[in-house]
Structures are given as structure tokens and as C-alpha cells.
Amino acid sequence: MKRTQKNLKRPLLALLAVLLLSVPLIFSGFPYAILICCFILLYVIAVSGLDIVFGYCGQISMGHAAFFAIGAYGSCLLHDYCGIPIMLTMVIAAVLAASVGAVIAYPASKLVFHFLSLATLSFGEIVYQIISHSPGGITNNFVGYYTESINFFGLTLDTYPRFYYYALGCAVLFLTAKQMLVNSQVGRAFIAIRENHHAADGMGVNVRKYKVIAFAVSAFYTAFAGAMYAHLVRYISPDTFMQKQSVMFLTMLLFGGTASLAGPICGVTVVMLLNELLRSAERYQMFIYGILLLAVIVLIPGGIYGTVEKAIKNVFRRKKEATKDAAG
């Protein structure tokens, strides 16, 4: 049976690759759809980052919008004030966010999740206050900040299809890195901390160090996505980085399901599509999100992907048992 599964996997992956690559062709007369796909890709990176710290390491963050902001503003400001090419500023801003994440996580690592949620929430608020009341007004405060497109080795990514391919490449890179990381001893240490931090400590895992690593890596992901956002939209303002955004990341993650590759992808896609469906009813949007989030927590705590995965596993197990029974 394993063989058939493996045989199925290859063509399915190929099909998926073809499908993803041909998105700009499919929607060639409908650029708005390509833009949505760009957003989905960058949010997948942001939410996968959150998944590392929350899904794998079990540490709540209610301030990830702050890292998103550091990535976005960091990249724009570095480009404008220091003249560094955007390709580089995106990485520098993400590294900056990772350092900030580490600095915050070090003292926060001793807090239990309740108080960690308060600490991360305040961190998010402080960053929001800084960008909206910036010293010397370097972020243009509430007016917002205009920036340029990414120059990808001479090619300006100023059309949606171009940006789409770039974002697809980034998403594949980041998701692959995430899988590599969580399938190594680092990922095992994360999960061990989530499952039982006393035992993890006793088994030689430096709990504080790994919490700091989880936060830093997570911040890097989300900040990079923030930089992508800035250079896709070419305009950023504090509105995008309010606490609402942090909750949105959490909603997307919980919707899809935590601690998996596909969870964030499912969650982001579903929430983004919902977003579009609800666009005409913008007034009700946040209200409906609240209800959906509550419904997911109360009814399917594993998220969409988690629940589907479990169901499939159950079906397989039943089949296995059935064949066993038949054989026995």
C-alpha cells in the first residue's frame, strides 16, 4: 500500500507544480485574482513563521504584526535612507526582526503562556505606537509610506504575474526550510518544549535557548513576508500593523491547523477567499471572523487541515484493520 501512496505522490506533486506555475496564465485577463494569489503566498510565509513558534514550540504570540511591521518599514526605510537595493533590505529587515524577536524572547521565555500573550501583545502595541508616532516622523506616521517595487537582478517586479513568480519562489524556499528545520533535532527540541518543558529541560534541551531560537526564526519569516507586502502594495501605513493583524495571523493558523506544512497554506487560502467573499459586506467582516474563530476553536480545534488529516488517517486505519481481519 505504501508503494501505491508513493506512486500517487509524484504525479500529484507535478500536477500541483504545474497548476501553481500556470496561475498567472489561468487568470491572465483577471489581474486582481493574481494579486490575491500573491497575498496568499506572502501570508503563507508569515503564518508559517507563526506556526514555528506557536504550533511547534507551543509559545503564543499575539504581537506578530510587529514583526510584519519591522519587515515592511525596515525594508522601505533602509532602501530610501541608505540606498541599499530592496532585495538586500528585505533580508536585512528580516534579520533585524529576528534580533528583536530574540531580545524580546529572552526575558519572555520564563513567562507562562497567559503572561506571554500579554507580553507579546504589549510588544505589538509598542511597535505600532512607534511606527505611528515615529521619531522625526521618518515613517510618515498615519499618512503612510510609499515605496518601490523589488528589482530582481535587473527585472522590476512591478506586475502581478512577475511578483507572483517571485513570491512562489520565496514561499517554496521558506516552506522547504521550515520542513528541514522541524525535521531536525531543533524541531524535536521545539516539540519537546511544547509537549513538556520540564522533561525537555531534564533531557538536556536548553529550553530558554530554543524558545529564543523559535521566536527569532518565526520573526524572520513574518518580517520577510512583511517586506514582501510592502513592495507588492508599494504603500504601507500603521493600519496594516494593528493588533487585528496579529489576531488575523492566529486565526489563519488555527483555521488551517497547527504544526504542519499544509495547515498554514489551507488556513491562509480559506481566510483570504472568505475575505474576498465578504468584501461586499465589509461592515460584517470582523464580526464574522470572530464567530468563525470561535466556531473553529469550539468545534474543530485541530483546524481544517488537522481535522481532514485525522479523518483520512482514521479511514486508512479502518482499511488496514479490515484487511488484517480479512487476512486473519
Partner: protein, 250 residues
């Protein structure tokens, strides 16, 4: 191997461990007994770094490890199991053992992120070694099951192999036989003797007197946080103070 010198720890006004000194010799199985609330687990928590003693010293392998944190003590070569089962329930049995090996892993963060050849080779070695350990206690068939799905006795065994995974010189076992039936108990005794024969010293807390008398080379008795008696099992059995504490206490 392990020398504990005059260790005291109190919580608020309560002295949980009161001027206790003891020693675990190389390759020996040393027992720690005493009525409930005598401070045995607290003593373990001091030795494994959960608590820092108010006074006294802990010397391990010639090095002062007093006040070191848990993971550092694990690195130094002391590993432990817990009285209440403390497995990583949602990880597989194999992964639990792999986490146990954490302090012996050489690959660093970026090697793990990029799955460099050196890291892959090491990971392969680790898995092989982990499977061998699981075979040692007979859990190899369950290697890919969730740890939480094991039976109670199997979970106890997994705690022990997870503790052994870091190649410790000293293993602290906190009531490993709790909740086991008599057959499992016998198997455990054989297993512990095998572990000691491999050169891993053992310090064990256990209520089952029969098991302790047959297993241990030397026994310390704690009562109300104080060292009440020490000696060979036969001496302990004869000791009037110990008999009084047990008969009077229960």
C-alpha cells in the same frame, strides 16, 4: 561518582532536605528510601538541577555541579526519569528517545536547517542508536507509535530508555516500578541490573522494599528530610530506627 555534601533546601519555613550527605559509587546501584514526604523526590530535583540547594555542594565526576541548570547537568552526564510519567506524549516513541540524545548532538542550528551531509549522517547514526536502545527494552515494534498510546508499563520503560539516550554516567530513577504488575516488576529488576552492568550507575527511589533489597548495593534512608540511616540492604533491614520510621510512619 556523585558526592552530595551537606545539602539543605527549604521552602518557606519547611525544610524539605536537611543537611543530607551521600555518595553514589561507580557502577553501583544505590537506593533511596523513606516514607512519603521524606524529601526523596526533592532530593532528586536538587541533584538534577530543578532546585538549587540553600547550602551544601554536589560534586559529580570531580566537578562541582551545584546550582547548574537541568540541561547542563544532563550534559554533564546525569539523566533521570520522573515519578509522574513525563513523556512527550504526541511525539513518537523513537522521537522521545531522540530528544533524550539532545545533549550529545553535535550539529548546530544552520547544519540542521540546511540538512548538511554531516547532519544527515549524524541523524542516521542517532536513529540507529535509538532503535538499538528501544530493542534493549523491547519497544522496537512501537517505535513509530505515539508515546501517549503506550501501556503504562511501556511508558515507564520508555522513560528509562529516554534517560539512557544521553549516555549518562548516572541515571536517577524516581519510582520506576510504580503501577507495574509483579511480572513487569521482575522484568524491570533484570533490566536495571543489565543497565548497571553496562557501567551506568543508578540512584533509585522505590517503595517496593523487596525490589530494593534485592537490587541495591547500598541504601540511604531519608525521614523528614534528614538522613536516618545508610548501609548495605541487610544492615538497613535490621536497623531499629528504620523499622520504627516505617512502622510508625505508615
Amino acid at each position: 561518582m556523585l558526592q552530595v555534601k551537606d545539602v539543605t533546601l527549604s521552602f518557606g519555613g519547611l525544610v524539605a532536605v536537611n543537611h543530607v550527605s551521600m555518595e553514589v559509587r561507580d557502577g553501583s546501584i544505590t537506593g533511596l528510601i523513606g516514607p512519603n514526604g521524606a524529601g526523596k523526590t526533592t532530593f532528586f530535583n536538587i541533584a538534577s538541577g530543578v532546585y538549587t540547594p540553600d547550602s551544601g555542594e554536589i560534586i559529580f565526576d570531580g566537578k562541582n555541579i551545584t546550582g547548574k541548570r537541568c540541561f547542563q547537568i544532563n550534559e554533564a552526564g546525569i539523566s533521570r526519569t520522573y515519578q509522574v510519567i513525563n513523556l512527550f506524549k504526541k511525539m513518537t516513541v523513537l522521537e522521545n528517545v531522540l530528544v533524550g540524545m539532545h545533549s550529545r548532538i553535535k550539529s548546530k542550528f544552520f547544519a540542521s536547517l540546511l540538512h548538511l551531509p554531516s547532519q544527515r549522517a549524524e541523524e542516521k547514526e542517532l536513529r540507529k542508536k535509538a532503535m538499538k536502545l528501544l530493542e534493549f527494552v523491547g519497544l522496537e515494534k512501537q517505535a513509530n507509535d505515539e508515546a501517549g498510546s503506550l501501556s503504562y508499563g511501556q511508558q515507564r520503560l520508555l522513560e528509562i530508555v529516554r534517560g539512557m539516550a544521553s549516555d549518562p554516567k548516572l541515571l536517577l530513577l524516581d519510582e520506576p516500578a510504580a503501577g507495574m504488575n509483579s511480572r513487569e516488576n521482575d522484568e524491570l529488576m533484570v533490566l536495571l541490573k543489565k543497565i548497571a552492568a553496562m557501567g551506568i550507575s543508578i540512584l533509585i527511589i522505590e517503595h517496593d522494599m523487596n525490589l530494593m533489597m534485592n537490587l541495591c548495593d547500598y541504601i540511604y534512608v531519608l525521614n523528614y528530610g534528614k538522613l536516618l540511616a545508610e548501609g548495605k540492604p541487610a544492615q538497613i533491614q535490621q536497623n531499629p530506627d528504620v523499622i520504627a520510621a516505617y512502622l510508625g510512619g505508615e
